[in-house]
Amino acid sequence: MFVTILDVLIAGLLLGGLYALIAMGLSLQYGVAKVMNVSHGEFIMLGGLTTWSLYTVFGINPLIGIIVCGPIAFLLGYGLHRTLYKKIGLSSETTGIFESNSMLASFGLIFIIQNIAFKLWGPEYRGYSYLAFPVDIGGALFGANRLVTLGFSVAIGIAFYIFLARTRMGKAIRAAASDSPTAGLMGVNINQVLAICFGFGAAMAGIAGVLISVSYPVNAAMGLEYTIIAIIVVALGGLGSIPGSFIGGFILGVIGSIVTYFEPGLALAAYYVIFVVLLLVRPKGIMGK
């Protein structure tokens, strides 16, 4: 009995680490840059499939894939914000209009990115075996690859938090998050900061994709599901709150793991129930202001 509980809990934490990383990226994009980027999951998919190609074609270690995919995803996100979202921002009269238009534009991006990926990798599930030996934790067995995933998620989360709290750039990001026009008046180069935030969000998605591909098979159509999970976690943690997303990811992971234990088909439905109830009862989320 105790082993089962531990089993379910640890599985939840392993899953939660991934969710936290994905959600932090979206939280950065929505909370600071105000773009509800529904194509977030597509960056995850790109990260995963690129790593698969690097590993199976060139024999490059997936963990080195992080160093490749992270910066590339950052540049993609940065470029997208500098061109597409900045232009939408200039033509939108209010924040509300910007939020809906940028969300719809990112829906268009889903089609574009997903179909390019279908051209490049085809619709098949791509998986590979890396660090797939079991590790014993208190009597429960877990794949080493999933522990590596958790370790990286937590490390990136903490590193990013320190970056936000301690550096000059982090301060500019926090200022832009709370009130971007005023931050602009105080001498923050606001377009630059928003684009960097968007880039960081994309980089986190790309890295999450690398980590997902280490433990699970990936394919070109996987994006939207992760996007929706990210949206739920972000809403759970409080829109725009990075620590909230981090904690929310682990909460959702544990809940998902418990539900999967009893009824495997209902995990996603359970997420939505939580999401719906949350929006009705406390739309601000657990850490929202």
Binding site: I88, G96, F107, L224, L268
Partner: protein, 316 residues
């Protein structure tokens, strides 16, 4: 304001509409089956888009729930089809959607902005995954077969839904309720203070728009022999009406009709000409439309009209 312009407009516009509708009703008599099927799909998108615009276009609440109501219609038809006349199935599909929308709406329409959009998107996924789980667990199958109906009947019923929708949309737009919805979109609190029963109006309008989506789903289901939750509750059907409405422009009633017709035809064209790149091209058009046509085609037409000499009367 040019009085003669308005008078001619008063007689010419309804005349043209009646003529076009009469031609559409007689259509199966003089064109081949392919055209009938194509126009049915176009009408389906027009119905989804116009009914989306009734609620979201005026109030500014970005609803991503069309797929949910469309899917409810599809499942109504899959379960009840063959047991009763198709007209009754279609009306039932609409009514069930109306009830679900009224229930969901009364719970959630106090959510603002992006929260409402996210909630409605979540609703589609919630219904989809719960239904999938239910089907696999209790009925033992993933999908269902739908009783087929001949294409001309489908076409005529879809056209009927379209006509009723058009009349409803026109009446709402012309009535004080249309103005009230508009005022909710501009400034909800001010609307409430001016004596508009904001909650009731939002819930009922949300329900009416869901009614037509459900009815459209119920009739379209008979064209697809096989359905499962993934097909019926595809989020694609949530985003298409939004995109089509933006593409057409929401200021005028003809905007969404124009947008949906253009897009649905484009879809067909791309699907036959470039089956492998069609979604990709679609995404590009979507991004470009949002970037360069924020007021849609109807906004563009009005802008050009105003620039033309003597075209000022359109600016009313």
């Amino acid at each position: 304001m040019d009085i003669s312009g308005i008078n001619t407009k008063k007689f010419i516009t309804p005349g043209i509409i009646v003529l076009v509708l009469a031609l559409l009703f007689a259509l199966p008599l003089y064109v081949n089956l392919y055209t009938v099927v194509l126009i049915t799909s176009i009408l389906m998108y027009v119905v989804l888009t116009v009914s989306w615009t009734i609620f979201s276009g005026s109030t500014g609440y970005l609803s991503l729930a069309p797929a949910a109501f469309f899917g409810i219609g599809i499942y109504t038809s899959a379960i009840l089809g063959g047991q009763m006349p198709i007209i009754i199935v279609v009306i039932l599909g609409g009514l069930i959607s109306f009830c679900v929308a009224a229930l969901v709406g009364s719970l959630t329409l106090r959510l603002k902005g992006i929260y409402f959009a996210m909630f409605t998107l979540g609703l589609v996924e919630l219904i989809k995954h719960s239904l999938l789980w239910y089907e696999i667990k209790f009925t033992g199958t993933r999908g269902r077969f739908v009783i087929l109906i001949d294409n001309e009947t489908i076409y005529l019923i879809m056209l009927g839904i379209f006509v009723v929708l058009l009349i409803t949309a026109y009446l709402i737009k012309r009535s004080k309720y249309g103005l009230a919805l508009q005022s909710i979109g501009e400034q909800e609190e001010a609307a409430a203070h001016s004596g508009v029963n904001v909650t009731l109006l939002k819930v009922v309008t949300f329900g009416i728009s869901a009614f037509f989506m459900g009815a459209a789903g119920a009739i379209m289901a008979t064209r697809w022999t096989y359905i499962d939750p993934m097909i019926a509750f595809n989020v694609f059907f949530s985003f298409m009406p939004v995109l089509m409405a933006i593409f057409g422009g929401m200021g005028q009633l003809y905007g969404p009709i124009l947008g949906a017709t253009a897009f649905a035809y484009l879809e067909e064209l791309l699907l036959t000409k470039f089956p492998y790149y069609y979604m990709l091209i679609f995404g590009i058009i979507m991004v470009v439309a949002i970037l360069y046509l924020p007021q849609g085609i109807s906004g563009l037409i009005q802008k050009l009209w105003r620039r033309m000499p003597g075209g000022k009367s359109a600016n009313t």
